[in-house]
Amino acid sequence: MNAHDEVQRTLNPTCTGTSVIALQYKTGVVVLTDRVVSYGKMARYKNVSRQYKVNDNVLIAFGGDHADFHWLQNVIERQVLLWKRFDQDIGPKALHGYLTSLLYAKRCKMNPVWNTLVVAGVEEEEKNNKETSTPFIGVITQKGCAYQVKHIATGLGAFLLNQAVEDEWRKKGEDLSREEAEAVLRKSLELTLYHDCVADNEFEIGRVDATEGVVLGKEEKIIGDWSIAETNCQYE
Amino acid sequence: MSIMSYTGGTVVAMAGDECVCIASDLRIGEQMTTIATDQKKVHKVTDKVYVGLAGFQSDARTVLEKIMFRKNLYELRENRNIKPQVLSEMISNLAYQHRFGSYFTEPLVAGLDDTNKPYICCMDTIGCVSAPRDFVAVGTGQEYLLGVCENFWRENMKPDELFEATAQSILSCLERDAASGWGAVVYTITKDKVNVSTIKARMD
């Protein structure tokens, strides 16, 4: 390793996306991201999707450096094509494993991929039998620390929302319907909006369902209730 | 190495039913070298109130002098024995007066008040008091002690049970903490007497 190489690595992220919130429901997974990429605290790029459809079973959402994610999209696409050559569709578990190894290897070269990835999908136990499919959410941090969850909020959302989402999850558990899950996500976006200065009110909810496959969300907008803002004067 | 672990030493106190136990090890070192093996870190303040000072022992000595000075003044002025609650408040004040150049010692107070209710507390170097109902530990072996005490402490222990629990805790701690050792001294304070026992532990 050359002494100057560190200048050419993502040791500081440039254009970043913030929280990703994902939640499992009965037959699939819903994923919410807002549609802004920030440069520091500036909302630099609007109307950018932070979700990437891999195939009909897998959807990836990211937080962290946008350029690194573009690079990752390319890598993932190649991997998907590689599987295609053997007539296989990559599943979420396999992709999660692959990306874990990739991110860990990059970390070991001291050249990290500055992303927190949320791999959402439906794992097909048997090919073309939707009955046996199970929803899957896997998270990978930039250092290659990977785990599976039923619900997740990354980025600043990890501090703000994890508990809120978990509480909702515990009420219903596996029996959560899609509408309920989406309502939880919308509510939690509202919460990030109030507290996270780089979160945006324009967002999209993508989903992976056992029967419908990946459905990318449409752009939506919430305003929230700002009446309390007048009373918040920070007391400084 | 931090100044807090320069001389080493550990103090623990446990509360029981109308009794408290306070124990310390006997070692003083200069980092890895042991230079004394008979130094109690627990000091008598009144008949039923004891104070333990862990951390840097030079500062601990100075602080002890100051504590005794203030306590004597209090007793002269008020003409009554000091309660452990009052003493801890006094030490806390003393420590916080030196907020930006603190004494490197963590004080611990254990005693019975005038109704023989047990009182134990510990504080950090700048006098933030924590007075739980079960047990407190300060010094280099703090973490080791808290783990063991958590398993040994029971509600409303009698003096002999309390002594056993405290002694077992500090002995287990001395087994693992290299900066404390050379035996332990345990004070069991009850309403009509104080029992002092010196226990042999790992002598290294």
Partner: protein, 258 residues
């Protein structure tokens, strides 16, 4: 002939540019206005700690391994309440690790593939003693970029006896009766010293042999105590019981979740 200087001029210019670029790179890599400590602080840290504790106890014909299932970020934020820190490598080898979870996963993967290769080559499962040595070598292989993990390997050895091997991050190995690692290690170890090691008992007293039931209840106690005081330990106890000649049993027991 001497009047033609075009090429040397260009060569000089390129040379100067190259030198300038080199100087820029050097100054960017080692800015003179920053002390080495400042540079060190700004360097990206490849490690992170995900907290949690693990513990293993061995007896005459059994070995039990336990860990909590909490994974934390910065010791305050719970990432997940059911992380797996115990890997059952085969019928008589159990690996449990705490520390940096990326390394935990990698270590698991490395050992699994090594064991797979062994099975392929020798057509039998590896014994725990061999695996212990293997793990030590694998940890030391990364001496200068260590796996940031406190590993414990437990299982039933060739003679049907319980075995626990404890490691430091760079592969120092020791066979012990019991061991703990992770955030609550200093809280669990002295308790086990007292209850299993009988270190506080005077010489000449009878030291009863450890039974499986007692080992399990001690394990539960030590984790409950640790969860009480240590914030990155909690949620669930993942308990794995290996007994000689019996299949491995896995249990989950509740712990406090705050």
């Amino acid at each position: 002939m001497t009047s033609f200087t075009g090429i040397t001029a260009v060569a000089n210019a390129t040379n100067e540019m190259a030198m300038f670029k080199q100087a820029m790179k050097e100054v960017a890599a080692h800015p003179e206005w920053m002390s080495s400590r400042q540079i060190e602080r700004q360097r990206w840290n490849p490690y992170s700690m995900e907290g949690g504790s693990t513990c293993a106890i061995s007896g005459e014909n059994f070995a039990i391994v336990a860990s909590d299932t909490r994974m934390t970020q910065n010791d305050i934020n719970i990432l997940t309440r059911d992380a797996e820190k115990i890997q059952i490598l085969n019928d008589n080898i159990i690996l449990t690790t705490s520390g940096f979870y990326g390394d935990v996963l990698q270590l698991k993967k490395v050992l699994q593939s090594r064991l797979h290769k062994y099975r392929f080559d020798y057509r039998s499962d590896m014994s725990v003693d061999l695996c212990a040595e293997l793990l030590s070598r694998n940890l030391y292989y990364r001496r200068f970029f260590p796996y940031y993990t406190g590993a414990i390997l437990a299982g039933i050895d060739e003679h049907g006896k319980g075995a626990v091997f404890s490691y430091d991050p760079i592969g120092c190995i020791e066979r012990l009766g019991y061991s703990a690692s992770g955030a609550a290690e200093p809280m669990i170890i002295p308790f086990l010293d007292c209850q299993i090691g009988h270190v506080t008992l005077s010489e000449g007293y009878e030291r009863p042999e450890l039974t499986l039931d007692r080992a399990i209840s001690l394990m539960k106690d030590s984790f409950r105590g640790a969860a009480e005081r240590e914030i990155s330990t909690g949620d669930k106890i993942h308990l794995v019981i290996a007994e000689a000649g019996k299949p491995v049993v896995v249990k989950f027991l509740p712990l406090r979740e705050d």
